[in-house]
Symmetry: C2
Subunit: 320 residues, 2 copies
């Protein structure tokens, strides 16, 4: 049996890069894919509860993501934002007119007592997404960025300050008392997962929050199935976002080898880009198997190809 033809896959994802691979996996697997999404970036803004990574994954899998930015909705307009500016309101976090519908519907249902999981299901159904998308937790977990003595809420760091201050430490507030979301808990408690894929999201900002939810790391370590990651670092740089910058600020080498070491305790295989073929030997020394493939995803076909490569890599690791 090959994973592409049967079997259920769980993917852990953050924002734009993770959503691209999740989309490739969804093209191949359809409803046999569950994407567990980081909610450490969630925040309250202008009275809305905003779940940026969930939205990016939802919009990407629904085929309505803005192709230019990776986040937000295609064919977007900005009249809400213009009017907010006219009122002297905050404009540092861009909320498009179409995108707002998601925030309004989600916020209304959250305030009424619904769970983030149930709301995410409803949004996915409305948009015809066959893969299952679940938040890592229905409880609040908030990524906090420390820059020296300064403590920054994640979006303050990431969007307002454009990640322009050095990161000295990170914490995931609320994680210790958070539970995995019900569907994630079901998978962890014996539901079917024939492979676990860690998408090429920022290891520190997008994947670590998911791993910080109690039980998740132990589940991955003991799942007894291939755990494959695709490195978000290619040729010593991040495809998108501040992953490389943060590595450097934390005193780490900006390299897929650093990614391998970061995940070594539980990842069985790391797919690295052809540009990093020279890293095969040092990565395999850490006990992580490697596969070298083109990993940059420019269009839907690239996404599908990286997903196929990822799944066949996982197949090969299962047979070992």
């Amino acid at each position: 049996m090959r994973l592409r033809d049967a079997g259920h896959v769980v993917a852990l994802a953050g924002g734009v890069g993770g959503a691209k691979l999740a989309d490739g996996l969804a093209q191949v697997l359809g409803e046999r894919l569950t994407v567990v999404v980081n909610t450490g970036d969630d925040f309250e803004h202008l009275g809305f509860h905003i779940s940026p990574d969930l939205d990016t994954v939802i919009y990407t899998l629904a085929g309505i993501a803005n192709p230019a930015t990776g986040w937000g909705v295609a064919d977007e307009t900005w009249n809400f934002m213009d009017q907010i500016a006219r009122f002297g309101g905050p404009t540092w976090f861009k909320l498009g007119d179409r995108d707002l519908a998601t925030h309004a519907l989600r916020s209304e249902r959250l305030w009424a007592g619904d769970t983030l999981s149930a709301i995410t299901d409803a949004l996915c159904q409305a948009l015809g997404i066959s893969a299952r998308i679940v938040p890592m937790s229905d409880d609040p977990v908030r990524t906090v960025v420390y820059s020296g003595s300064e403590r920054l809420a994640f979006q303050d760091y990431f969007v307002r300050l454009q990640a322009q201050v050095p990161v000295t430490a990170l914490s995931f507030d609320g994680a210790a008392s958070a539970s995995p979301s019900p569907e994630f808990a079901r998978l962890m408690g014996g539901g079917r997962a024939d492979a676990i894929i860690i998408c090429p999201s920022n290891p520190y900002l997008s994947v670590d929050p998911i791993l910080s939810v109690p039980g998740v790391r132990a589940w991955i370590e003991n799942a007894g199935v291939p755990v494959v990651s695709v490195s978000p670092i290619v040729g010593g740089a991040a495809i998108k976002g501040p992953a490389a910058k943060i590595m450097a600020e934390l005193g780490l080498e900006v390299s897929s080898l650093t990614v391998a070491k970061h995940y070594a305790a539980f990842v069985t295989g790391l797919m690295i880009d052809v540009a990093d073929a020279a890293l095969v030997a040092p990565i395999e020394e850490t006990g992580v198997r490697t596969r070298v493939r083109p990993t940059i995803m420019r269009d839907a076909r690239d996404r599908r190809q990286v997903a196929e490569d990822c799944l066949s890599f996982a197949d090969s690791l299962r047979r070992l």
Copy 2:
């Protein structure tokens, strides 16, 4: 002293018709005008607190109202609403993309504990409105429409059902325990009001809720200043909205005479349209003085003229 040159005027207003006269009065009086606005139409929708009459008055006095509808903002777009429809959300209450900025900012501040009065002040300042616009109360008062045994929240009646069911009774829930907003209370407690104008709003749906706030009716009756209203009924029909329909449903004659009788206890003068000149004698028999003028306001000049006529009518009543 003529009111147009000195003196402070308090106007009571509801939605579109009331906003037009309020705009005319604001053109003449500027910061010497306080508009007290009905909040019985306020409701929660899609997670927003929406104050339709406040918004109509604010947008109209700011010169950004949608000239075609009377409500909402000019140059509006509807992409939020399109996306809500795509998600299967409620679309019966139209929220434009620009208009949403008002709802989001107001809601966020309300949830944070600010008063509707303080938020209204801030919105008016941001839009450069020199007149003072105040909600009738910062406490929730909710107009409820009864149609036989059916009990309808106001916007369900007015927007969702397009006022297509017969009104048999009205109530203003919460009114008995509501206080006038601080600035309204200040005016009622001895602040300067040289005349009180009741705008051509729906007497039952827009003005009665204001009068239902404890102390308001007694203040108007005992203010000792001219109380002038402009009839919203012209030639046996309402200029806009269901005022005439409701009169008929309540078994009343659809006429400015009915308006005069409704307000007779406290109105000293009723301005009626030239189309209704024949009603002067029967109205004056109720103890209400009349003035006959064109009252239909099609453009900014009409609004100013009706406002001037209204103020000179009040001047004449002061001199009696």
